[in-house]
Each structure stands twice: as C-alpha cells, then as structure tokens.
Amino acid sequence: MAQRKLHGVHVPHRKHTADLAAVDMGCPAMVTIPMSMHIGAPAKPLVKAGDTVTVGQRIAEVGGFVSSPVHASVSGKVKRIEDVLISSGRKVPAIVIESDGLMTRCPDLKPPVIENQADFLQALTDSGIVGLGGAGFPTQVKLTVKNLSQIEAVIVNGAECEPYITSDTRTMLDNPKLVLEGARLLQKYLEVKRIIFAIEDNKPQCIAKMQEMCRQETGMEVASLPAMYPQGGEKVLIYHTIGRVVPEGKLPLDAGAIVINVTTLASIARYVRYGIPLVKKCVTVDGGAVKTPKNVIAPIGTPMADVFAFCDGFVKEPKKVLYGGPMMGIAVPDLNQPILKNTNAILALDEEEAKLPPTTACIKCGRCIAHCPLNLMPAEIEAAYERQDVEALAELKVNICMECGCCSFICPARRPLVQTNKLAKAQVMAYLKAKQAKEAAKK
C-alpha cells in the first residue's frame, strides 16, 4: 500500500511580513561579495583592487561547469579582494566594493537575444541566477536537460514552508507577471508540457493570484498543498504534486520532474526581459529582536547590519542571527555577514527564541521516526552513530537525510538529532565511496 502523504511537523507560521510589499533599501556604503554563493566551483574574479565597477557588471566568471558568475551590485571602486569565511566553513575570496552612492548601471546591460534552447541556457549562465530557495544550485545546470521529453512536469516551488519567510510570497504578489513570463520561457525553450505552481494553503492570496495568472494559459495549474513542514522539500513536493518517488542517489529528473523556486523563475524572466543579472535580493527581515520586520530588497553583498538598520534596528539584543528560516537556517557569528544570492531571510532572534534547551535522555518515544518525511529512524541512527557503526548507519540510509530538522524539532528530549545525522552522513558517504572503489578494483 503506497503511502498517501509524507510525514512532517506543524511549525508555527509567524508570517508577520506576508502583507508587506518589498521595499528597496537603497545603496549601502560597502558590499562584500563572496565568490561562492552557489553549489559548485567558486567564481573567478575578473577585477582587481582599484578598478571602477558599475551595477550589473560581471566581476567574476564561472569557475567550472557547476558554477555561476558574479556581478557588481553597486557602482564604485573595488577596495580589495580578501578571503572570507563562508557558512560552509570554507574560506573563499570575496570582492569588496566601496559604493559611490550613485548606483550607476553598467552601460553594456541589454536583454539577451534568445532563439533556441542553447541561447536560453547561455542567458541563464550569464544571468548569475542560482536556486534562490536556499540551496543555490546554478540554474543553468539544473535546466540543462539532454532529453527534453524526460520532463513530465516542472514544479514551481512556492511552498515557502519555513516559519517567518515571506520573500517568495512577495514574489508571487508583487511580480506575478514575471513569474508567468518565466513559466512561458520554460514552455518555449524546454518544451515543458505541465507546469505546477505548488503553494501551501496558508497563502490563499498567492494561490488566488497564481490561479488568476494561469486562467488564460495552457499547461499551467496551481496545486494548493496543506501547510506542513517540509512541504517545500524537493522530494516531498514531487511526491505530493505528481506522486513520484525520487530514488536514492537519483535526480528529480529521473522521476520526470524539475523543481524550481518561484523567485528563481521570476529572476529568469527579469533577466530575459531587462537584461539585469542577479544583483539584488528580496529578503524577509524578522525575528523577536527586530524592531520593524519588513521585506527588504537589498543589493547582494550588503552587510546584514545595514539591512537590520534599515528595519529600524533592534528592540532587544539579538542573541542569534540566521540566514534563512529557523528550521534550516544557518547561524552567523557576527552582523558583517553579507546578503547572498540565495539569502531569502535574515532573522534576529531574541534571548527567549535563541535559548538552547538542555538535552536530556532519549525516552524512545518514536516521535522522530513518526515525523520523518523520508521515513528514517533518527533515534536508531543516533544510537548507531554513538557506537560508530558505519555499516548500520548505511543500512539505516542516513545518507538520504535532507536535514529538514523535523526530528530535532519534535524531540521531547531536545536531542540534536539532525546534527548527528549530518555527522553520520559524512561518514556513510565516505564509507560508500570506499566500498565502491573496492568493488571497482575487484573488477
């Protein structure tokens, strides 16, 4: 008997900013743009200290097949290129630009000429667009499909299941035409027959808006999904819209689907129409410590501190500051961290929200198992990890964990289950790799 719906948890929504249209914060004094704001090889800088740059100018080129170019988000002078620590723990070069406050647009920017699929993919590469839902996977790589008939459906991810975040909501409400144009581009150049806008039912305005957009279109539909975390997880979304299972180690395409974030789609349309690469980002600014929560359009590379200042600063001392939502967001060490391409929210949590609960003994209640969307057994994984049994970890399939955090969220003993999963994953990946190498050597 097939499972009808995957498990998950009910998180508080806290979408305080859903009705607030995005406001442009203007020009920061300085931006720091890391060369790695995407999955894959870091971009290679094309400028050096002292160079003058303009908005939209390409300042770094792709560093490999899976990579993305980087563009200046302000006009001004390159101050220096320095190594910065990014959230993955790696050090990558970053281009620091001192703004001249003019936001002069690069004179070379013009809409790309697109006649076929190859042109379209080239345009995507040039646009610097990456997956804006959070992962930051270069979009041209995702949409490079050899056999177009393999695509049965493109699922436009507007689920936005993380608490607080409303930047995708604002994309759908503020720029619905761009979303629609993006969808039409996919129909035209990737011959997509079915496009599904997948939206959680806690956003009825977005559902209504996208339904209105789809009315005149063929091959486009809206799927209203129950508000459940992690509804927006790729595998979850594919299963809940077209009922397909993405097998372990395979891509969504192997299940006939491509999932693309709704803001990514709008950004593609914006580039194709105006020739403006990805230099600004709408981010939700919220959390108990923030004075005036807002949706802010900020140039990429803007220090978080400036964005918080634009939201009238803090009412309480922030104790924890996050890139992204509270379920999968990454905590930062200081407020100098820049807005990245794939930043959809920055949250400043107050003392109460940031408090780390004490961990107590596992009571074997099974909640982590009952709520795992991928039917994993976090409690057993934790036990196997503690006794360093890599074989058991591989058997328990910790490698397919998407790190959504449901297990840690629901654990009444407050055990750091997803953290253990991450550590265990690394071990299992190494183990499987070694095993494969051994088998290959045998042959």
Binding site: L6, V9, P12, P163, K235, Y239, V245, E248, G249, K250, E317, P318, K319, K320, V321, L322, P326, M327, M328, G329, I330, A331, V332, P333, D334, L335, L349, E353, A354, L356, P357, T360, A361, I363, K364, C365, G366, I369, A370, C372, P373, L374, N375, L376, M377, A379, A394, L396, I400, E403, G405, S408, F409, C411, P412, A413, R414, V418, Q419, K422
Partner: protein
C-alpha cells in the same frame, strides 16, 4: 554583541519529556478518583506513598552516584502512580514503598535511568510484590470491608459475576486503579488527544483478548467480561504503551499489542494465575528489541545496498 552559533533547527516544539510525563499523570487522575470513590481515601494514601518512595529513591540514587538529578521530569511520579494503581487498597504501606524502590532502583536506575530500562518498572515492582507478598497482594476488600474475589477469580471458579455496568464503572474487586474501565478510557482518550500515545498497542491488545476470549469462551458476554476484568485496561493503556520498553514504530506497536493479548489469554485460560496482563507485558518487553528490528521503517526512495 556575542551571538550564539548552533546548528539548525533553531525552533523546538513545546512538548518536552516533562510535559509528556505530566500528561500521563493527568490521564491517571480519573482512575485515582474512581479508586477513592470505590475503595475510600486510603487509595490516596497508597498513591502518595508509592509516588514519594519512587521520587525519593530516584533522588537519592542520583545524588549518591553524583548524577544529574532528573526527578523534575515527572517520570518517577508516573512510575509511582502506575504502581499504586496495581496494588490492592489494603496493601501495607511499607510493602507499597518497597515496590516503588524495586521499580526505580533495580529496574530503572541500575539499567541506566530513563529510557534505558528494558522492562516496565511498575510492572516488575508489581510482580515482585505479588511473588513476595501474595497474601496481602490478593486481599481484595470492598468499600464495605467485606472480602470479595476479583471477577477473574470468580470466572475461573465459575461463580456469579457483577453486572456489565458494575464491571464498567468499577464496582468490583481488584487493584485500586484497575477497576474502573470508564476512568481508564477517559485517560486513554486524553492521551490520544494529547498525542502522548498512539492507539495501536491498546487497541491491538484489548482487541486480541476480546476476540480470543470470544473464540475460547464461546459467547460475547464472556469476552466483554474478560476485557473489563483484571488489569487489562490499565495495562493496555498505561503500561504496554511505555516508550522505553515497547517498540517505537506503529507496526511494531501493533505486533506488541497482539503478543500481549495472546499471552494474556493463554495465562488467563491455562496458567495457574488468574491474572496474566503483567506477565504478558513483561514478556513482550523482553521481545521488544527483536520486534523493533523486524519493524524498521522503509526509507523513502531508499535503494537496497
């Protein structure tokens, strides 16, 4: 400004171990009230002694071993109340306290404390008392101080049972917390609503006893009496659903309940004891690691290695 850096998630559900244990205690309140109504105020005294002994034992053990003191998680309170519910109201208080000490010290703490014990502490406490002090553990006294037999003993001897309504409300001989089926069902519903337990084990357990009793006894009335008699409801709702000593998947819980049901009927029909629930649960506790192994979930999209 110094910021906390920790891994996601940065949000936790409100339910914690203490709130779960507190919910179990709340779910037991109707049964304790019923005990007071049926057997009198001494029921409360027995409950108080069991709880105090359980909490004190845990506190002293943890202090003595220089371990973090965990009595704030309410789990020792739960053990105390459940053990009290498994005792006749006339039990000498020192024996009640002894049961709690065995449950907490031997069964729970010596195996590593909360979540690490393989057997249900209250059940072992009850069994130890039952085997050590058979006389006081089977002295069934009614509110009017008349000695009586439990319905299971009556059925075994072929005597006359109380009516179905009395069986349901709890006007019958038995341990102080097991007699009122109504009160236990109220607790069951509360635990379901609060999502403390799932329906699987209790329904499989009681359902199995009902069906097998019907088949073996030949009529529905007999089967109904079987499921309302003895410690079945108390065991199925509060002891066969103990997290640490039962499987943590729903399919495992069904198997656990089924096994408990079969064993209970076997003991009741052919064993030398009139009551089989606690032995059935204890036996299934021992099988739990195996059931857990057989009933692992299938990872979504997982490919066999």
């Amino acid at each position: 400004m110094s910021l906390i850096v920790s891994t996601s998630p940065h949000l936790r559900s409100r339910t914690d171990t203490a709130s779960i244990m507190r919910d179990v205690v709340i779910a037991l309140v109707p049964a304790v009230i019923a005990a007071v109504v049926i057997f009198g105020l001494r029921s409360l005294l027995v409950v108080a002694v069991c709880v105090a002994a359980a909490v004190l034992t845990e506190f002293l053990y943890e202090k003595g071993c220089k371990l973090p003191v965990t009595v704030g998680d309410w789990s020792a309170v739960v053990t105390g109340v459940i053990l009290a519910c498994n005792l006749p109201v006339t039990i000498p208080l020192w024996q009640a306290a002894f049961g709690s000490i065995v449950a907490i010290l031997v069964v729970k703490q010596l195996f590593g404390g909360l979540g690490r014990n393989f057997a249900n502490p209250a059940i072992v406490g009850r069994i130890v008392l039952f085997l050590s002090f058979s006389k006081t553990m089977t002295a069934w006294v009614f509110p009017d101080a008349v000695s009586t037999a439990t319905p299971l003993a009556v059925m075994a001897a072929g005597g006359k049972l109380p009516g179905l309504l009395d069986m349901f409300l709890g006007v019958k001989g038995g341990c102080l917390g097991e007699v009122s089926v109504l009160a236990l069902l109220i607790g069951f519903v509360y635990l379901l609503v609060r999502q403390v337990i799932t329906w699987h084990t209790p329904v499989a357990f009681v359902g199995t006893v009902f069906v097998l009793s019907w088949l073996l006894g030949g009529d529905v009335l007999y089967a109904l009496n079987q499921i309302m008699a003895g410690g079945l409801m108390l065991g199925a709702v509060f002891m066969a659903t103990d997290y640490a000593t039962t499987p943590s998947t729903n399919s495992g819980r069904l198997i656990f309940g089924l096994g408990c049901g079969i064993l209970t009927v076997l003991i009741r029909q052919w064993g030398s004891y009139a009551e089989g629930v606690s032995f059935a649960i204890l036996f299934m506790n021992i099988l739990t690691p195996y059931i857990s192994k057989w009933t692992r979930t299938k990872p979504f999209g997982g490919v066999k290695a």
